[in-house]
């Protein structure tokens, strides 16, 4: 049984998704989805444990040996992210039970959970597989179900947002598949580790270079790297809150994983170094993204859009770590992947709780909510502090490692810019704080109550995780370091 864990991780949500359609009773489907996601989470715990103690796991799908059959391969990097994705998914699902009842019509609840589980399947599949084409398949599964999850709400603006995302996402996916096709043309294989062995022989060819080019652009569209981020703010702003919380915390992170996997495990850093000035490009785009998106966040009137722009900025930090191109830089990137997921999940779930109570995500409707919903508001503030990088939160850990990596590389000015940019985060977070606590409410709204327990508990689990992993960094720093070391081939 334990030998099959790598595939069970993916197959259980995949099989469970259509089952939802048979169960049909929304309440039961909801609980069923939680159970499925929790099972995936438990499996990922087991997998990570095994990977840390016993080293990389390889699983041959259907008993067909790689490189002919499809291989699933769990190492420290994806073991760590599997844990993150399945964990966040479970917590978000708990909050979903009440949250979607206000945001979706009753007859769409079952479809929501079906699409959600399919999206989870796709994300977990991308992480687990060691096959370039299989990865594309899962990428499409997760993408198509995300479009559904965004458009499923009652807000009609979500339809255009979803369509916009569909167009951009499809372009990205097409670029990726072109890249995979070109690589297959040159090497005749799709297994990542087989590719890594065969590619050096054809490093000089223009085909491989264009494969890499297509690939990078395609993935950067998916992960919303500035200036390819245009789909993100609308999609996050108009989607149902639960969708936003889930996608913001996981989907872009998984896309970053794909980027890291391709750069380090398939093409290899030697190739990247000699073919493209990728470090410089990422440095430039990352920094510009951080500043442009952070400043844009300041001017948003919709709190979901505000934090969506903040997400684009945070992706800039993640890419900046990659741009450094050292082991320390990669560690910072991996840390921030995990940490940012915790922050954004907490913030968007808390926003979801407000939407549940007041039915709006306009910042002006937050006036005076500090009194009405003290726990939810405290969660938003705690998440915001983490975003700024205040000590004792995960954001501080990320910032510390990023700055140390930048100093180690000798990039003093960039380190200063990173610190300046976190001050812009202070501005947009404090705009929210001032609305919540220091602006008198315009209308007397006595019926507004604190969010229900079923939402407060998941929110506060995430908030406490933000603090816990900001103090006890053994897991996050430890695994990020090990993963970075193994990607750089140091043992």
């Amino acid at each position: 049984m334990t030998a099959h864990l790598p595939i069970l991780q993916v197959i259980i949500p995949l099989l469970a998704a259509p089952l939802c359609l048979f169960i049909r009773i929304p309440r039961i489907v909801g609980i069923f989805a939680i159970l499925v996601s929790a099972t995936a989470f438990l499996i990922s715990c087991g997998l990570l444990q095994e990977v840390i103690t016993g080293g990389t796991l390889s699983y041959q799908l259907g008993g067909w040996a790689a490189p002919w059959g499809i291989e699933y391969r769990i190492d420290k990097l994806n073991g760590y992210l599997l844990l993150l994705v399945s964990g966040i998914s479970t917590i978000v699902l708990v909050a979903a039970q009440t949250s979607i009842s206000k945001e979706l019509p009753e007859n769409r609840h079952t479809f929501f959970y079906t699409a959600y589980l399919l999206c989870l399947t796709g994300l977990l599949g991308i992480l687990a597989t060691a096959d370039a084409f299989n990865l594309f398949v899962f990428l499409e599964i997760s993408a198509l179900s995300s479009y559904t999850l965004i458009a499923i709400g009652t807000d009609r603006r979500a339809l255009t947002a979803s369509y916009q995302y569909l167009v951009m996402g499809t372009i990205g996916a097409t670029f990726i598949i072109i890249g995979v096709g070109l690589m297959y043309m040159m090497t005749g294989t799709l297994n990542m580790y087989d590719l890594a062995e065969r590619l050096p022989a054809v490093y000089e060819s223009k085909t491989v270079l264009s494969a890499f080019g297509f690939f990078i652009v395609g993935v950067c569209l998916k992960l919303a790297l500035f200036p390819l981020h245009l789909w993100l703010p609308n999609a996050y702003a108009y989607a149902p809150s639960i969708t936003t919380a889930f996608l913001a915390a996981t989907s872009t992170k998984v896309a970053v994983y794909v980027l890291i996997r391709y750069i380090f495990s398939i093409f290899g850093i030697e190739f990247v170094d000699m073919s493209l000035p990728l470090g410089d490009i990422f440095l430039f785009l990352g920094l510009t993204g951080i500043f442009v998106a952070s400043v844009a966040a300041i001017y948003q009137l919709n709190i979901k859009r505000l934090f969506a722009y903040s997400s684009v900025a945070q992706i800039g930090y993640i890419i900046l770590g990659l741009a450094i191109g050292t082991e320390l830089g990669l560690t910072a990137t991996l840390l921030h992947l995990f940490n940012h997921a915790l922050m954004k999940a907490a913030i968007f779930l808390a926003i979801g709780a407000v939407v549940y109570r007041i039915g709006s995500a306009q910042l002006s409707h937050y006036a005076g909510l500090g009194k009405k919903m003290p726990w939810t508001m405290a969660a938003i503030v705690a998440g915001g502090l983490s975003l700024i990088g205040v000590p004792l939160t995960v954001g501080f850990v990320s910032k510390w490692y990023l700055v140390v990596a930048l100093l180690d590389k000798g990039w003093w000015p960039v380190a200063v810019l990173v610190l300046i940019s976190s001050l812009i985060a202070v501005i947009y977070v404090w705009r929210v704080v001032e609305w919540i606590y220091l602006t008198p409410p315009r209308i007397i709204t006595d019926e507004i109550k604190e969010a229900p327990m079923s939402q407060l508990i998941p929110i506060w689990i995430l908030v406490l995780a933000n603090i816990y992993f900001g103090v006890d960094t053994r897991l996050t720093v430890g695994v990020s370091k090990l993963a970075a070391q193994s990607l750089f081939g140091v043992n």
Binding site: I388, V390, P391, A415, L419, L423, Y437
Partner: protein
Amino acid sequence: MWLAPETLLILTILVPLFAVPGIIAANRFPNRREGVTITASIILIYLVTTLYGLVQNGTSIAIKGPALFPGLHLSFEIEPLGMIFSLVAGFLWLVTTVYAIGYMRGHHEKNQTRFYSCFAIAISSVMGIAYAGNLFTLFIFYEVLTLSTYPLVTHSGTPKAKEGGRVYLGVLLSTSVLFLLLAIIATWYTAGTVEFQKGGVFPPETAPIITGTLLVLYIFGIGKAAIMPFHRWLPAAMVAPTPVSALLHAVAVVKAGVFSVLKVCVYIFGLDLLRTLPSAEFMLYLAAATVLLASIVAMRQDNLKARLAYSTVSQLGYITIGALLATNAGIVGGAMHIAMHAFGKITLFFCAGAIMVAAHKTEISDMRGLGKTMPITMIAFFIGSLSIIGLPPTGGTWGKWFIMTGAFDAGKWTIMIVLMLSSLLNIAYLLPIPLRAFFSKQAYGKPVQIKEAPLPSLLALSFTALGCIFLFFYTQPLYELASAILQ
């Protein structure tokens, strides 16, 4: 003693923190709620005095907490400077709480539960700063202090409070994130450690350009020390209720700033290294400029709290000067001035608040003849002023004396002249207030009738005023502690 010294140390940080749930739980019962704060502050005083006894007997108390990052621990250690700071803050918390009961109720302030809770968190982080064993721990509590005092600054919730809060948070967070954090990470990177060590942490081969730049980053980064041009937050913080201005913005927060400056100078750079740095000289003159300019600005303020705030900026400059002189007397003077200025300035703020509550006056020009209605308050104000100016028989004399000696030892004549000029300016902007109160005619021709602030407030301000005099005659223990920093 039935508790280990290490436990006592941790308790000093936890006791104020534990008071917070108690304060919140007693939300509806003001007497019980203030009872919780007072109990916590009495326990805190017991703890710090016990620790003081232990430190005097030569016990060394240090704790290495959990590592946040590999090699970087939360750690605490008690050394004489931290002892002084924690004693001052611990004692004055009790006094301020007593004062606040009179003030907050007399002024009918809202949200008093939030007020007392945030106050307790702030005190807890002050204790964390005082006993921090490395820069990293200090930074964490430093930031917690900034954030926990923000709700206190914006307490009234008015647009003016919002503006003040923005400046407060903006300056303190930007300086600490941009300069202090960068300096700490860079120190960690160059020296391999951020532990406070006697004689400094930098290996001798470190390039002077690096240590020189780091010093500038530290002095500017510790925005709480209010060196110009990063002093704007302190006048902005004056929109807070007066007990906050008194304890936090005359004692705890600002002293956390200069305390950190002293700590960094003594235990990160070391006096020997500091003396050789050209940038130390530059920062020294900047501090001197701050002392003078702030005094001049203070003279032009008619609002009493604003005048006191600029006076604080100026007095903080004295302590920074003491640290940057890098002479033994300078450090001793700086450390002593932390305590002396605390008692003097808190008295003045208490008086300002008492005048606000009893006579509803905030502008100095309206306070003529007030000595007849509020004699005790005005006498206390007079004593506090003497201590700030540095005249006997008040404690302020000693702090300034030693800083002056430090400047003499270092051969810095300009600094000595600046210090003397500034003392003259202090006389000019402080003494007229009580003198006019007693010897001028009343601003408005109301019947003269004694109307003092509520009793708790009056008790508190008399206590601190007497403290100023007491510290003049009974300076030995403080002096011993301060000189122990250098042994």
